[in-house]
Symmetry: C2
Subunit: 192 residues, 2 copies
């Protein structure tokens, strides 16, 4: 029995989408990864339609057990935050329409889950995602790696990898996940 998580790093210009299967023993396998981009020359309704259509296709094709979306922060650049929020609204509603649970995770939760540090840089996150999922090459662009990291974060934070919406689980459920990641990190270090 596996938990299938679809992670989304929302955005109008680039929306990263990643699907990961996590087994009960925490082994994670990438199912699919992609990026949906829209041109700033399109009107907002056309851009949101492209994203809505893409997320519908991904949900129908992969039928995830849960959707993990990056929590949008108001601290972001003011000119981009509105578009990110609008895109995330479309993604969350698409999952809700299908009765798929949605979990939100902050960027620092993702960094902490993947690297053990909430202030890790993108390269560190990408490197560990690549290692954990046994990929031949790092997923690009960064939005794609972020989407996979979100999916992994959700599964690990949910505790056993079988939990429900683990957006705010305590440190009890974090500990084994962080330990697993630390082991993976150590392996990655040895491999360098």
């Amino acid at each position: 029995m596996t938990l299938r998580v679809l992670g989304v790093d929302p955005g109008l210009t680039r929306c990263g989408i990643g699907v990961v299967d996590i087994e009960r023993n925490r082994r994670a396998t990438m199912v699919a990864v992609g990026v949906v981009g829209t041109s700033a020359e399109l009107t907002l309704d056309k851009r949101l339609l492209v994203i809505a259509t893409a997320i519908d296709e991904w949900l129908d094709l992969h039928e995830p057990d849960v959707v993990a979306v990056e929590r949008v922060f108001s601290q972001m650049n003011v000119s981009t935050v509105m578009g990110v929020a609008q895109a995330s609204g479309v993604v969350i509603a698409a999952a809700a329409r299908r009765g798929i649970p949605v979990a939100l995770h902050t960027p620092s939760e993702v960094k902490a889950a993947v690297t053990g540090s909430g202030t890790a840089n993108k390269d560190a996150v990408t490197k560990l995602v690549t290692k954990i999922l046994r990929l031949d090459a790092p997923p690009k662009p960064a939005d794609a790696a972020d989407a996979l990291a979100l999916a992994l974060t959700h599964a690990w934070r949910a505790g056993s990898g079988m939990g429900g919406i683990g957006g705010n689980t305590g440190t009890d459920s974090l500990t084994p996940a962080q330990r697993a990641w630390a082991e993976a990190e150590a392996k990655a270090r040895r491999a360098r």
Copy 2:
């Protein structure tokens, strides 16, 4: 031949929706008005689902020619702006899915179109909306009146009331609209 505009004042707690028919001679008639509210105790996905379902029903029932949505501003309260943006994303994508054009108007554009002043207060807007649409009582809550004002604004700003997406039409097309509103305002004053 009439132009049917569905106006939306987006929000998670209250989403105002108003449908207005505007004839070529600028006479406007209210078709329907309503407010969709969601509890802050619901999770974000459930709240966006309620809004998505409602807007789908309104679009299917009234089949508007155009959807006018209030443009979200980053100047808003930081804690509410994200929810407003997410709700507006859901609304805009719902219209785009049906191939219905979407126009965005700022609050000051609405105030200017309805009252002639971009800094008019909500009471003035509600009063004129009530008068223009020949309603027995002011639409309540304010979100409902705002949605109707948005729909009217779009039709008037589009020039003849038959235009396409008139989100940024020039002063040429504004002048007759503003004149019409000024006449209505004068009538409203005489009626007091």
